[in-house]
Symmetry: C2
Subunit: 350 residues, 2 copies
């Protein structure tokens, strides 16, 4: 039995890449070799891992020799191009991009929901989209009690979900506006066009109802990911889902307002009991003491999927409203991928 | 026939009060006397109206002698205390507070929806809650084509909806954070407890799923206002409505993600045609050129209710998703109240 694994990180210099490194360290993932891969642009950079400096190497088809595990977050195009070479070299790949998620042959896994699918892999295991992961962690325990018939979800997604450059753009727009004495006045908190480079419009003090590209049906790809991926992970193609995805001026952690309709009644009290015991979920639901989850206070930098504001929906017979918050770079990306690897190798990190 | 009206503004120094003054000027509302009323705290302040300085007077039960119209936005307690005196003195009151909205005897009016209710008033006409107004302006034209059976709404509400002090708190928190060189880092954009005075938690870079007080059923009063007021304005108690209301770090204009189910099918194309011609609505719905409404770019400081992201909801037979944006201080408060007065007096300001 190996004492540890040879791990390659694709996209090591990105926002999720940084979280891969941080979380592998935090959890003492058994590693005997780490290989940090990125594009030519990042070649020569150095990254500290477990106290030692590691060079960033340029990603090539030859990068995977001797590698056991690839943690990949370098975008769908690079995953499509390079992961087949990694598989050929004998590695197992946990891919954070959308490249393979809907492939029949590729398990799409959230360990709290469908860890049993991991063993069916043929070299690639897909990590779902951030907004999907936190939703299914919170909803699957309810689905197990009474089938979820329909989901209506509206998201409040932080800028870090779009990458490190977007994080810096929000910070830089906010900084420019803050230097004005009357930034709070009507019409006084717009930045110049030259300060808008990453998002299609200013994100500071704004809401942009547009994440990923628009599709033929007027939904965005992000919205359809939530529909299609949630069904695949929960193993139930009959769940009716509709989503509206919105970018908000928050740095880290996504929030979701979720309305569900179940086959049989689940009371708010039952839902609180079920979710209070559910794996990966942390319940914060005490209105009387202003107890509800928030991105800044709860989600940012933590591991759980936080659920609160659980209310029986009085507009239908078997409905519930929930408010779900989780760190999109951690449980929504790097942490979930590493949990997949832990499950694959039978590593317990509790 | 009078050449104009004697108008008293209650809460003249507040966020909505300032908008009353601005919009009365913009629309050349026929005024022969204006009386600016506020609490003892603001006594002695001066406010410019139509180029002339007016003193702010302390609100008393004697303030309404000779007044034709009271525009009131001084909170529910003051409305309850003082508006009966105004009515007794012969004034008609348009009240922006929640004090009288659900009274059987008080019309609750959005002129684009139920202007016919205005004539039933007995001295007080209630102005609905900001988030309700923009929702019904957008939904009523669809309801007229095919009855709306159910509404699931999640809001994204700006800080100005909670008053001018909240606006300043967001600005001051953001300013403090902006002075840090690494404000964008995980855990680096929290302010001190002493900088949190208006909202229960930090609002800069955060989301607070809590507007107005919590009720017995775990909903907030804001959420139940959307349910009860929308039914009363649309004149249909059978519409099933469920709401989740969230405060977001935006200064002005609220947004809403709204899912509706209608009795008969309305296609997205039909909805665009209906809303393209609807009173008070401005359609911005061209995904191919990133056309959708946003608070900063469209809502802030303008009069329309903006609608976009219209999509057929594929999860049910007769469903639609919409994204609705409007200035909560204007159409959501002061403008709607002034439009009620215009309708009452048969004034056309177009």
């Amino acid at each position: 039995m190996a004492k540890g694994y040879r791990v390659a990180i694709m996209g090591a210099t990105g926002a999720v890449g940084a979280q891969f490194i941080k979380i592998l360290e935090e959890r003492n993932f058994p590693i005997i070799e780490v290989k940090l891969l990125a594009s030519q642009r990042s070649a020569g950079k150095k990254i500290i891992f477990e106290g030692k400096e590691h060079p960033v190497e340029v990603l090539t088809h030859q990068s995977f020799k001797g590698i056991d595990l690839v943690l990949s977050s370098a975008g769908a195009a690079r995953s499509k191009e390079f992961l087949p070479s990694a598989v050929k070299a004998g590695a197992v790949c946990v891919d954070n991009s959308s490249a393979f998620r809907m492939d029949r042959d590729v398990p799409l896994v959230v360990p709290e929901v469908n860890s049993e699918a991991i063993s069916l892999h043929k070299g690639i295991i897909a990590n779902p989209n951030c907004s999907t992961i936190q939703m299914v962690v919170a909803l699957y325990p309810l689905h197990n009690v009474s089938k979820i018939e329909r989901i209506v979800v509206s998201t409040y997604q932080s800028v870090s979900g779009a990458g490190q450059k977007k994080v810096l753009e929000l910070a830089s727009q906010a900084k420019k506006i803050a230097s004005r004495p009357d930034a709070f006045g009507v019409g006084k908190h717009k930045v110049e066009k030259s300060d808008i480079n990453e998002f299609p419009y200013q994100i500071a003090y704004n809401l942009i109802p547009h994440i990923d590209v628009f599709l033929e049906n007027s939904y965005t790809k992000e919205e359809m990911k939530m529909v299609l991926e949630a069904r695949k992970i929960m193993g139930d193609e009959s769940i009716a889902i509709t989503a509206t995805c919105v970018r908000v001026p928050v740095f880290y952690a996504h929030a979701e307002s979720v309305n569900i309709q179940t086959r049989d009644k689940i009371t708010a009290e039952e839902a609180r009991r079920i979710l209070g015991d559910a794996p990966g979920v942390k319940l914060i639901d005490e209105p009387s003491r202003n107890g509800y989850p928030m991105p800044l206070n709860d989600g940012e930098g933590t591991d759980a999927v936080f659920v609160g504001r659980i209310r029986e929906d009085e507009s239908i017979e078997n409905g519930l409203n929930l408010w779900i918050v989780s760190d999109n770079l951690r449980k929504g990306a790097a942490l979930n991928a590493i949990q997949i690897a832990e499950s694959l190798y039978g590593i317990s990190c509790d």
